[in-house]
Symmetry: C2
Subunit: 348 residues, 2 copies
């Protein structure tokens, strides 16, 4: 607890503490940063004074001297309206918590949506942040390229799809594995012809997930001819695509590249009077709030975002302490959260 203190009071500084404790500035600094250098009684005395005055080192001064701000930059992209993908929210929160443990803070910045590089350079040149976390590797990694060029440290959430020569640290979730889990689950509960609703072919993430569906179908010995669809991530597009696929009565299940698409399928079912789970199975992707609250509950692939954040912070820590990163690429596995959109028994 800090003692109550009015704003008008002067902030205690290192010098204040030193004088009060009868030691030099450097000794107080050591008490904070290299306590093992001090004799026990000196350390105790200094710490007592620090606590008494409620002293906290001035970040600006420390930053100026050490050239390290303990701030991590994150370009904050907004979830698109009309999609259910509020993944960012949960991820950012876990990232904030994970960085707090190492004494770092997250600085958000905005950028021109049309310029993926906007904002990075300015923070970097002002030495306002030590490193960046890059989340948007959907459309290649222009920001990562920029940072590599100027030698700034960073970690990406998302693997470097286009660049096999990339050597930067990254954390990602095995989307193909997730889609495979989803498809296998649908096959297990008795569906045979599982359709795939995915994104346009330009999306590497989308193609990766689709590959998981194809693998599961191949393992089951079922052809995927005419079952895979590529559309935009949008409820209505999914609804219409589902209507079309449902014209074929053998199609009784949908694995989707996102919850948005899964919810679109649920719309189509509602309009056709089909019962989710009982008549048609649906699995989404991301375990968004939408999947959780939509009727009757959408089974979904959940990314371990908490673990992703922890791994990212660990990598950042390694990079920032100038150690060599022994394991710069980390792939995590998603899990399946089963809800009623894949439960077949009607006695629910």
């Amino acid at each position: 607890m800090s003692p109550s203190r009015r704003h008008s009071d002067p902030q205690p500084t290192l010098a204040t503490v030193a004088e009060r404790a009868g030691v030099s500035r450097q000794t107080v600094s050591n008490a904070l940063n290299n306590p093992e250098l001090l004799r026990e009684d000196t350390l105790a005395k200094v710490r007592a004074v620090i606590a008494e005055l409620g002293y906290t080192p001035n970040r600006a001064a420390r930053q100026l001297r050490t050239r390290s701000s303990h701030m991590i930059g994150l370009r904050f992209e907004e979830a698109q309206e009309g999609t259910s993908n509020a993944t960012m929210d949960r991820f950012v929160h876990t990232l904030v918590e994970a960085t707090a443990r190492t004494g770092h803070h997250i600085v958000l910045f905005a950028g021109d949506p049309d310029d993926p590089l906007d904002g990075y350079d300015e923070l970097l040149r002002a030495t306002a942040v030590d490193a960046f976390v890059i989340t948007d590797t959907y459309a290649g990694t222009p920001a990562a390229d920029l940072l590599s060029r100027v030698g700034a440290p960073y970690v990406t959430f998302g693997r470097p799809w286009d660049d096999p020569s990339a050597r930067h640290p990254w954390v990602d979730v095995a989307g193909a594995h997730g889609a495979r889990l989803a498809t296998e689950h649908l096959l297990e509960v008795g569906h045979a012809r599982v359709a795939w609703l995915g994104w346009e072919a330009a999306s590497r993430i989308g193609e990766d997930r689709r590959a998981g569906w194809e693998a599961a179908m191949a393992a089951a010995g079922t052809s995927t001819d005419g079952l895979g669809v590529r559309i935009t991530d949008n409820v209505d597009a999914a609804r219409m695509a589902a209507h079309e696929l449902l014209e074929d009565p053998t199609v009784t299940a949908f694995a989707c590249a996102s919850d948005t698409l899964g919810i679109g399928v649920l719309h189509a079912l509602a309009e056709r009077g089909l019962r989710p789970g009982v008549d048609v199975g649906v699995v989404g992707f991301d375990d968004s709030l939408g999947a959780q609250v939509t009727w009757p509950g959408l089974t979904s692939v959940r990314q371990p975002l908490e673990q992703v954040a922890i791994e990212i912070v660990d990598l950042l820590h390694t990079v920032l302490s100038h150690k060599t990163v022994t394991e710069p690429a980390r792939m995590l596995e998603p899990t399946l959260v089963v809800r009623r959109s894949t439960l077949r028994d009607s006695a629910r």
Copy 2:
């Protein structure tokens, strides 16, 4: 545009620029902060060198000298799982954009969920932030009280419910007005007995919104006896409450204190085979992603979060420039977004 530069190159400083331009450090500083003090040709020359070297002032040094970090602290609370309220996401994004325009950045920090004060003190004592934005005024304003006590600047999103003597700047959205809009809309499309699903009485926001419903009902001359329910913000609680209210066949519409509750009502309708909009009207609150994607679309009260962020930044700016705030309390009005959960004609 900055010229490409390797990390190993020394960062240009004020002194570098001064030497190159043949002027003193102070002149360069003035070119940046008080350009009107310089003669035109001097200014042009300095600016040219700044651009040539890609110079950006070091934030730490500036912060140390001016005692102003240009950072705004925001305690980032996570949306609860199982609710559809991802309001924070949209608000934070607009806040980041609005602060960027004044050269400020948002620093996120976490805190012990059980201690509403956790985290503030540390950032403050380290002079890491200039001010705070407080979003959680649901449970009184303990954080605001702390900051007032130590004289730290802050602006809250949410009025000071419990403390009529509070004089701090705040921005809020008139929840009662929103609920009134919702209820009037339901009455207009032909419903007579409009039920209210709200939060527990302890929630000041919930009671405020409820008051809007009561006002609209009173204006229509309809009694609210037995129509108002107080429950927790949870899909299932709303679903069960709706089932109970629907036992009374005269109840044909629901105004809700949140989208989560509204979605719960939609669940009950689905289970009863009632058609949203056609048989029973439902309005939610917050215009969350859930309201947008859920079937068949949930009419909802939308808060002008973009405008809220802009007003907050404006207030912050005023407070930080030590001007007196002429208008410290700003109330904004929400709008109604109509979707199919309140459309009666079946030819939809």
